[in-house]
Protein backbone atom coordinates (compact mmCIF):
# COMPACT_ATOMS: atom_id res chain seq x y z
CA UNK A 1 0.00 0.00 0.00
CA UNK A 2 1.43 3.42 -0.88
CA UNK A 3 2.69 5.33 2.13
CA UNK A 4 0.27 8.27 1.77
CA UNK A 5 -2.70 5.88 1.95
CA UNK A 6 -1.39 4.31 5.08
CA UNK A 7 -2.17 7.30 7.27
CA UNK A 8 -5.36 8.62 8.73
CA UNK A 9 -5.15 12.41 8.84
CA UNK A 10 -7.16 13.36 11.88
CA UNK A 11 -6.65 16.50 13.96
CA UNK A 12 -5.85 14.98 17.33
CA UNK A 13 -6.40 18.25 19.15
CA UNK A 14 -10.08 18.17 18.15
CA UNK A 15 -10.48 14.40 18.05
CA UNK A 16 -10.32 14.03 21.83
CA UNK A 17 -14.01 13.70 22.96
CA UNK A 18 -13.92 16.34 25.71
CA UNK A 19 -12.26 18.91 23.44
CA UNK A 20 -14.64 18.05 20.60
CA UNK A 21 -17.52 18.69 22.99
CA UNK A 22 -16.07 22.06 24.04
CA UNK A 23 -15.44 23.10 20.44
CA UNK A 24 -18.95 22.02 19.35
CA UNK A 25 -20.50 24.20 22.05
CA UNK A 26 -18.26 27.13 21.19
CA UNK A 27 -19.03 26.75 17.46
CA UNK A 28 -22.72 27.25 18.22
CA UNK A 29 -22.28 30.58 20.01
CA UNK A 30 -20.32 33.82 19.74
CA UNK A 31 -18.67 33.36 23.14
CA UNK A 32 -19.28 31.55 26.40
CA UNK A 33 -17.84 31.71 29.89
CA UNK A 34 -16.27 28.98 32.00
CA UNK A 35 -19.44 28.31 34.03
CA UNK A 36 -21.52 27.84 30.88
CA UNK A 37 -19.01 25.38 29.42
CA UNK A 38 -18.75 23.59 32.75
CA UNK A 39 -22.50 23.04 32.76
CA UNK A 40 -22.81 22.10 29.11
CA UNK A 41 -19.89 19.67 28.96
CA UNK A 42 -20.25 18.10 32.40
CA UNK A 43 -16.47 18.15 32.81
CA UNK A 44 -14.75 18.91 36.10
CA UNK A 45 -13.22 22.37 36.58
CA UNK A 46 -9.69 20.99 36.34
CA UNK A 47 -10.45 18.98 33.21
CA UNK A 48 -12.19 21.85 31.46
CA UNK A 49 -9.38 24.22 32.36
CA UNK A 50 -6.74 21.81 31.00
CA UNK A 51 -8.59 21.22 27.72
CA UNK A 52 -9.26 24.93 27.24
CA UNK A 53 -5.56 25.65 27.73
CA UNK A 54 -4.67 23.02 25.11
CA UNK A 55 -7.17 24.46 22.66
CA UNK A 56 -5.83 27.95 23.33
CA UNK A 57 -2.25 26.77 22.77
CA UNK A 58 -3.37 25.19 19.49
CA UNK A 59 -4.83 28.53 18.41
CA UNK A 60 -8.37 27.16 18.24
CA UNK A 61 -9.80 29.05 21.19
CA UNK A 62 -9.25 32.59 22.42
CA UNK A 63 -9.43 32.99 26.20
CA UNK A 64 -10.10 36.31 27.90
CA UNK A 65 -9.87 36.64 31.67
CA UNK A 66 -11.75 39.52 33.28
CA UNK A 67 -13.29 40.44 36.62
CA UNK A 68 -17.00 40.88 37.24
CA UNK A 69 -16.83 42.85 40.48
CA UNK A 70 -14.66 40.62 42.65
CA UNK A 71 -15.46 37.47 40.70
CA UNK A 72 -12.99 36.27 38.07
CA UNK A 73 -14.50 35.48 34.71
CA UNK A 74 -13.06 33.39 31.89
CA UNK A 75 -14.58 33.92 28.46
CA UNK A 76 -13.83 31.48 25.65
CA UNK A 77 -14.34 32.13 21.98
CA UNK A 78 -13.66 29.93 18.97
CA UNK A 79 -11.09 31.52 16.65
CA UNK A 80 -11.35 31.51 12.84
CA UNK A 81 -8.69 28.81 12.84
CA UNK A 82 -10.70 26.78 15.33
CA UNK A 83 -13.84 27.06 13.22
CA UNK A 84 -11.93 26.03 10.09
CA UNK A 85 -10.31 23.14 11.95
CA UNK A 86 -13.71 21.89 13.14
CA UNK A 87 -15.02 22.07 9.57
CA UNK A 88 -12.01 20.15 8.23
CA UNK A 89 -12.37 17.60 11.01
CA UNK A 90 -16.08 17.08 10.22
CA UNK A 91 -15.27 16.66 6.51
CA UNK A 92 -12.46 14.21 7.29
CA UNK A 93 -14.79 12.14 9.47
CA UNK A 94 -17.51 12.17 6.80
CA UNK A 95 -15.00 10.96 4.19
CA UNK A 96 -13.81 8.28 6.52
CA UNK A 97 -17.22 6.79 7.28
CA UNK A 98 -18.91 4.53 4.70
Amino acid sequence: MPEDRNQLVIDRLIHEPARLLIITHLAAVKEADFIYLLRMTGLTKGNLSTHLTKLEEGGYVEITKTFEGKMPRTIAKLTKGGRAALKSYAEAMRDLLP
Binding site: T24, H25, K30, A32, D33, I35
Partner: protein, 197 residues
Protein backbone atom coordinates in the same frame (compact mmCIF):
# COMPACT_ATOMS: atom_id res chain seq x y z
CA UNK B 1 -24.69 15.21 27.33
CA UNK B 2 -22.08 13.12 25.58
CA UNK B 3 -20.27 14.03 22.37
CA UNK B 4 -22.17 11.28 20.56
CA UNK B 5 -25.55 12.86 21.21
CA UNK B 6 -24.56 16.42 20.45
CA UNK B 7 -24.26 18.31 17.19
CA UNK B 8 -23.92 22.03 16.50
CA UNK B 9 -27.69 22.44 16.06
CA UNK B 10 -28.28 20.90 19.50
CA UNK B 11 -25.62 23.14 20.99
CA UNK B 12 -27.30 26.18 19.42
CA UNK B 13 -30.68 25.11 20.79
CA UNK B 14 -29.19 24.62 24.27
CA UNK B 15 -27.62 28.08 24.15
CA UNK B 16 -30.94 29.57 23.05
CA UNK B 17 -32.76 27.73 25.81
CA UNK B 18 -30.70 29.52 28.47
CA UNK B 19 -32.61 32.70 27.56
CA UNK B 20 -35.87 31.39 28.98
CA UNK B 21 -35.03 28.57 31.38
CA UNK B 22 -34.78 30.83 34.45
CA UNK B 23 -38.40 32.05 34.12
CA UNK B 24 -37.29 35.68 34.44
CA UNK B 25 -38.45 36.57 30.93
CA UNK B 26 -41.95 35.30 31.83
CA UNK B 27 -42.01 37.36 35.02
CA UNK B 28 -40.81 40.55 33.34
CA UNK B 29 -43.23 40.12 30.41
CA UNK B 30 -46.08 39.61 32.88
CA UNK B 31 -45.05 42.77 34.77
CA UNK B 32 -44.93 44.68 31.47
CA UNK B 33 -48.42 43.50 30.54
CA UNK B 34 -49.75 44.42 34.02
CA UNK B 35 -48.13 47.87 33.70
CA UNK B 36 -49.84 48.44 30.34
CA UNK B 37 -53.16 47.27 31.80
CA UNK B 38 -52.74 49.48 34.89
CA UNK B 39 -51.88 52.47 32.71
CA UNK B 40 -55.04 51.83 30.73
CA UNK B 41 -57.20 51.31 33.84
CA UNK B 42 -56.02 54.42 35.68
CA UNK B 43 -55.59 56.58 32.60
CA UNK B 44 -51.86 56.80 33.18
CA UNK B 45 -50.51 56.57 29.64
CA UNK B 46 -46.99 57.17 31.01
CA UNK B 47 -47.18 53.88 32.91
CA UNK B 48 -48.09 51.98 29.73
CA UNK B 49 -45.44 53.64 27.61
CA UNK B 50 -42.52 54.00 30.02
CA UNK B 51 -42.60 50.90 32.21
CA UNK B 52 -42.33 48.08 29.59
CA UNK B 53 -39.14 49.48 27.94
CA UNK B 54 -37.63 50.18 31.40
CA UNK B 55 -38.17 46.52 32.31
CA UNK B 56 -35.73 45.37 29.59
CA UNK B 57 -32.54 46.70 31.27
CA UNK B 58 -33.88 45.44 34.60
CA UNK B 59 -34.26 41.97 33.06
CA UNK B 60 -30.70 42.15 31.74
CA UNK B 61 -29.32 43.17 35.15
CA UNK B 62 -31.32 40.41 36.85
CA UNK B 63 -29.87 37.86 34.41
CA UNK B 64 -26.36 39.11 35.07
CA UNK B 65 -26.75 39.10 38.85
CA UNK B 66 -28.92 36.03 39.37
CA UNK B 67 -28.81 33.76 36.31
CA UNK B 68 -25.26 34.00 35.02
CA UNK B 69 -23.49 33.13 38.31
CA UNK B 70 -25.54 29.91 38.23
CA UNK B 71 -25.58 28.76 34.60
CA UNK B 72 -22.94 30.96 33.06
CA UNK B 73 -22.85 33.57 30.37
CA UNK B 74 -23.32 32.86 26.70
CA UNK B 75 -23.58 35.27 23.82
CA UNK B 76 -25.52 34.03 20.83
CA UNK B 77 -24.02 34.16 17.35
CA UNK B 78 -24.91 37.13 15.12
CA UNK B 79 -27.09 34.99 12.83
CA UNK B 80 -29.06 33.69 15.82
CA UNK B 81 -29.44 37.22 17.22
CA UNK B 82 -30.64 38.39 13.80
CA UNK B 83 -33.20 35.58 13.71
CA UNK B 84 -34.42 36.62 17.16
CA UNK B 85 -34.76 40.28 16.08
CA UNK B 86 -36.58 39.26 12.91
CA UNK B 87 -38.92 37.13 15.00
CA UNK B 88 -39.74 40.07 17.27
CA UNK B 89 -40.30 42.30 14.24
CA UNK B 90 -42.53 39.62 12.75
CA UNK B 91 -44.53 39.48 16.02
CA UNK B 92 -45.03 43.26 15.94
CA UNK B 93 -46.06 43.16 12.27
CA UNK B 94 -48.54 40.33 12.85
CA UNK B 95 -50.03 42.22 15.81
CA UNK B 96 -50.39 45.34 13.66
CA UNK B 97 -51.91 43.31 10.82
CA UNK B 98 -54.58 41.88 13.15
CA UNK B 99 -55.31 45.41 14.35
CA UNK B 100 -55.49 46.68 10.76
CA UNK B 101 -57.88 43.94 9.61
CA UNK B 102 -60.25 44.49 12.53
CA UNK B 103 -60.15 48.29 12.09
CA UNK B 104 -60.93 47.85 8.39
CA UNK B 105 -63.97 45.69 9.11
CA UNK B 106 -65.10 47.94 11.96
CA UNK B 107 -65.21 50.97 9.67
CA UNK B 108 -66.00 49.49 6.25
CA UNK B 109 -68.11 46.38 6.72
CA UNK B 110 -71.84 46.82 6.38
CA UNK B 111 -74.33 46.89 9.29
CA UNK B 112 -74.28 43.81 11.50
CA UNK B 113 -70.72 42.76 10.67
CA UNK B 114 -69.44 46.22 11.56
CA UNK B 115 -71.32 46.16 14.87
CA UNK B 116 -70.01 42.69 15.73
CA UNK B 117 -66.47 43.78 14.97
CA UNK B 118 -66.93 46.93 17.07
CA UNK B 119 -67.96 44.75 20.00
CA UNK B 120 -64.72 42.84 19.55
CA UNK B 121 -62.59 45.98 19.88
CA UNK B 122 -62.18 45.88 23.73
CA UNK B 123 -60.85 42.31 23.43
CA UNK B 124 -58.53 43.20 20.59
CA UNK B 125 -55.41 44.28 22.57
CA UNK B 126 -55.45 40.98 24.47
CA UNK B 127 -55.91 38.99 21.25
CA UNK B 128 -53.03 40.85 19.57
CA UNK B 129 -50.90 39.99 22.60
CA UNK B 130 -51.95 36.35 22.14
CA UNK B 131 -50.72 36.43 18.51
CA UNK B 132 -47.43 37.97 19.66
CA UNK B 133 -47.06 35.36 22.41
CA UNK B 134 -47.65 32.60 19.86
CA UNK B 135 -44.83 34.05 17.75
CA UNK B 136 -42.78 34.17 20.97
CA UNK B 137 -43.31 30.41 21.19
CA UNK B 138 -42.10 29.99 17.61
CA UNK B 139 -38.93 31.90 18.53
CA UNK B 140 -38.15 30.48 21.97
CA UNK B 141 -39.63 27.00 21.44
CA UNK B 142 -40.76 26.84 25.06
CA UNK B 143 -44.12 25.02 25.23
CA UNK B 144 -45.40 27.20 28.05
CA UNK B 145 -45.72 30.15 25.66
CA UNK B 146 -48.50 28.24 23.85
CA UNK B 147 -50.27 27.98 27.22
CA UNK B 148 -49.80 31.74 27.76
CA UNK B 149 -51.19 32.45 24.28
CA UNK B 150 -54.22 30.27 25.05
CA UNK B 151 -54.66 32.06 28.37
CA UNK B 152 -54.66 35.39 26.54
CA UNK B 153 -57.23 34.12 24.02
CA UNK B 154 -59.38 33.01 26.96
CA UNK B 155 -58.92 36.44 28.60
CA UNK B 156 -59.86 38.19 25.32
CA UNK B 157 -62.95 35.98 24.99
CA UNK B 158 -63.98 36.85 28.57
CA UNK B 159 -63.58 40.56 27.86
CA UNK B 160 -65.76 40.15 24.76
CA UNK B 161 -68.45 38.01 26.44
CA UNK B 162 -68.63 39.89 29.75
CA UNK B 163 -68.31 43.31 28.14
CA UNK B 164 -65.35 44.17 30.37
CA UNK B 165 -62.99 47.05 29.61
CA UNK B 166 -59.79 46.15 27.63
CA UNK B 167 -57.37 46.32 30.57
CA UNK B 168 -59.11 43.36 32.26
CA UNK B 169 -57.81 41.13 29.45
CA UNK B 170 -54.27 42.23 30.28
CA UNK B 171 -54.70 41.54 33.98
CA UNK B 172 -56.20 38.07 33.40
CA UNK B 173 -53.69 37.24 30.65
CA UNK B 174 -50.76 38.13 32.91
CA UNK B 175 -51.76 35.63 35.60
CA UNK B 176 -50.33 32.53 33.86
CA UNK B 177 -46.86 33.94 33.01
CA UNK B 178 -46.68 35.47 36.49
CA UNK B 179 -47.47 32.18 38.24
CA UNK B 180 -45.52 29.92 35.87
CA UNK B 181 -42.59 32.36 35.74
CA UNK B 182 -42.50 32.52 39.55
CA UNK B 183 -42.56 28.73 39.89
CA UNK B 184 -39.92 28.22 37.18
CA UNK B 185 -37.71 30.89 38.76
CA UNK B 186 -38.00 29.31 42.22
CA UNK B 187 -37.21 25.88 40.75
CA UNK B 188 -34.28 27.33 38.80
CA UNK B 189 -32.78 28.84 41.98
CA UNK B 190 -33.27 25.56 43.84
CA UNK B 191 -31.66 23.43 41.11
CA UNK B 192 -28.83 25.76 40.15
CA UNK B 193 -26.63 26.96 43.00
CA UNK B 194 -24.07 29.69 42.36
CA UNK B 195 -20.97 28.17 40.80
CA UNK B 196 -17.63 29.25 42.16
CA UNK B 197 -15.52 29.43 39.02
Amino acid sequence: MSAKQLDTADAKALAFQTLSEDGLIDLFCALGVIAIGAGWAFDLVVLSVIVPPILIPFWMVARKRITEPRIGHVELREDTQMRLSMGLLWAALMGSAVLGVVAYYAFNAPGEVSMAVEELIPALPTLILAVMTFIGWLILRATRYIIYAMGLIFAGAEVFIQGWPPHMGFFIGAILPLVFGGLIFADFLRKNPVVDA
